[in-house]
């Protein structure tokens, strides 16, 4: 198997950055600022270098394929996470360079997943990412909720790893190959043995777990709530995107609908996730936990596109991922900025009157929430539209109907937060620690969201060209 440089280049970038930060950690006594800036600049630089079509000099090794785009997304998520993290960690008395290192390494794992050409790479990438995230979830060692989150995440993650691996083994056994291309090819060909489908369904179950789809979703609320908020943001965006990147690349190229064994089962997963995520989010009082449940619902919407399994489905999910990344990381970023020590200021009531004290933050939050709720003219709406188009085209109209009904519940709880921020006053106002860089990042995320909602075609054609 010849080495594909298109695959290796992002990994070389990110691993170099990782090693660089590691060296900095070892070299400098007070290494945190160095690591911080190195991470920020490095991640930004990598995102630019990898951006599809970026070609500063002739012959610059370009990253190709949809995987390249996903790599940009992971890097962007990491970049934003790092920006939101520093202040948060400082407030919780734990700013260290290793933190950035773990993020960078987990990005490496995500990239490996997205770029994988065989199941070995896929597996390794998944594990690299997961191991880093286990650590990150428990990063604040003294926080009991962090410990618990970390352990729950770890145990369940390892548990599901067993299933994924078993699935890989069965696929291997029935196809005689670990190549993803072979796998996809087999899925398009009718008449595969039961062994093969067993393997595929176990693999699907594994990734359904990773994206947080019903009924594999139960770890999500606890882990998202217990993890440090920037890590939650990173998990909800980067890790989810990574898992979806695999689903997009493996599971959207299936046989025609009538010969398709998986369409309905993915549709059920999607339906369950949309319903459960949205309904459970309604009565949450903790904003972070609410966003966790909502991320289950969003996984459901994206699975709608996977279930459709068409070109539009794949593009729709990819588009959804792009917009979801920016809106969710924005929302959780703001949550992290408002959170105080000891996990204080996370309830709805703590957001009361935010618009009066900090109109910029409140407005940005409102934009992210509207986008999450799927209201035009924001990116979240277009993402939903796209996947619903795909669903209806492939005869999954019931799923689209269920999806819109479920999103109505979503509208309720997102709007409830907007309502609290804008329509209510508070006696004990929370103070946000606002940093120029973070706010700039938020504004950028909001603008990207708006752009995705208003002028989505550039990113769509990009996605299409890469597919």
């Amino acid at each position: 198997m010849p080495i594909d440089y298109g695959v290796t280049i992002p990994l070389i970038y990110i691993c170099s950055l990782g090693i660089l930060v590691l060296i900095a950690e070892i070299t400098f006594r007070n290494s945190e600022p160095v690591s911080y800036w190195a991470s920020i600049l490095g991640l930004a630089g990598i995102a630019v270098l990898m951006f599809p079509g970026f070609n500063p000099v002739m012959g610059w090794p370009a990253v190709t394929g949809l995987g390249g785009l996903f790599c940009v997304l992971f890097t962007a998520a990491a970049f934003l996470t790092v920006i939101f993290s520093r202040d948060y960690m400082r407030r919780n008395g734990s700013e260290h360079g290793e933190y950035y290192l773990m993020i960078i390494f987990s990005v490496a794992g995500m990239m490996l997943m997205a770029l994988a050409t065989d199941l070995i790479m896929l597996f390794l990438g998944l594990e690299l990412m997961s191991i880093c995230l286990y650590v990150l979830a428990g990063y604040l060692r003294k926080r009991l909720s962090g410990n618990e989150a970390s352990l729950k995440y770890f145990l369940l993650g390892a548990f599901i790893t067993g299933f994924i691996l078993y699935g890989i083994a069965l696929i291997y056994g029935s196809t005689g190959s670990l190549s993803i291309d072979r796998l996809v090819e087999r899925m398009q060909t009718p008449g595969q043995p039961a062994l093969f489908w067993t393997g595929v369904s176990l693999l699907l179950g594994g990734f359904a777990f990773k994206v947080g789809a019903f009924p594999f979703h139960m770890w999500i609320p606890d882990v998202y709530q217990g993890a440090p908020t920037p890590v939650t943001a990173f998990m909800a965006t980067g890790a989810k995107t990574a898992a979806f990147s695999v689903l997009v690349m493996v599971f959207t190229r299936r046989a025609a609908a009538d010969a398709d064994l998986l369409r309905d089962v993915i549709a059920y997963l999607a339906a369950g996730s949309m319903v459960v995520g949205n309904i459970l989010a309604i009565t949450q009082e903790n904003v972070k936990r609410m966003l966790a449940y909502s991320s289950i619902a969003h996984a459901g919407y994206m699975l709608v596109g996977i279930a459709a399994g068409s070109a539009n489905g794949s593009d729709g999910v990819t588009f959804y991922l792009v917009s979801y990344l920016f809106m969710n990381i924005g929302a959780l970023g703001i949550v992290s900025m408002l959170e105080e020590k000891e996990e204080q200021r996370l309830s709805y009531d703590d957001y009361a009157g935010l618009s009066g004290r900090n109109p910029v933050l409140a407005s940005l939050m409102a934009i992210f929430l509207f986008s999450l709720a799927g209201l035009p003219p924001f990116g979240g709406f277009f993402g939903k539209y796209f996947v619903f188009v795909a669903a209806i085209e492939t005869g999954l109209t019931w799923l689209a109907i269920l999806g819109v009904l479920a999103s109505l519940a979503g509208v309720y709880y997102y709007l409830r937060l907007v309502m609290v921020m804008f329509f209510q006053e508070s006696e004990r106002p929370a103070t946000a620690s606002v940093h120029a860089l973070a706010v700039t990042a938020l504004i950028a995320a909001a603008l990207i969201n708006l752009q995705l909602g208003v002028l989505p075609s550039s990113i769509i054609s990009l996605i299409q060209n890469l597919r």
Binding site: M1, E98, E127, I131, G138, A194
Partner: protein, 158 residues
């Protein structure tokens, strides 16, 4: 015979109340597997299995159990009643399902083994040629795990 031992040791691993006993049965299970690997022409893996898995990893387990002083103490209440039954029943259901699916088999036809299959030489060859990138990434993985363990387990930071 080896297989029977493997199954028994596996069951005992999950049923022993004392973690230390569990570890020991797990190590036994790994030894059985190593034997099976040998019968399957995976000499290199068999060796690794014993050295790394049964040796290094399990010792680590044992070490941690000892460190945390987790005895077979009274606080270690195992779950009782219905939820245990549900768990076991579900496991059995999954087993039956797997059995059903595996028996519908149509496994691919077997191939003749190439020369030196499973030896360290062949193994290393393909590892460093075809699977160089995964191999390198494994090093990153171990590095990340290393850093992670440092983060999580170092005594004092602040």
């Amino acid at each position: 015979m080896t297989a029977g031992a493997a199954v028994v040791s596996a069951v005992l691993t999950v049923t022993r109340r004392n973690p230390v006993q569990s570890v020991l049965f797990l190590i036994l299970n790994f030894f059985c597997l190593a034997l099976l690997y040998l019968t399957l022409h995976a000499e290199f893996l068999a060796i690794i299995q014993i050295l790394v898995y049964a040796g290094a990893i399990m010792v680590l387990f044992l070490f941690v159990i000892m460190l945390l002083n987790l005895g077979d103490d009274a606080s270690l209440r195992e779950r009782s009643g219905p939820s245990r039954i549900v768990g076991i029943a579900l496991a059995l259901i999954v087993l039956v399902q797997l059995g059903l699916l595996l028996s519908r088999g149509n496994l691919p036809p077997g191939n003749q083994l190439p020369e030196g299959f499973g030896t360290a030489e062949k193994f290393g060859g393909s590892l460093f040629r075809e699977y160089l990138l995964p191999f390198e990434m494994t090093s990153i993985l171990l590095l990340a795990a290393l850093v992670g363990v440092m983060i999580l387990a170092k005594k004092k930071t602040d």
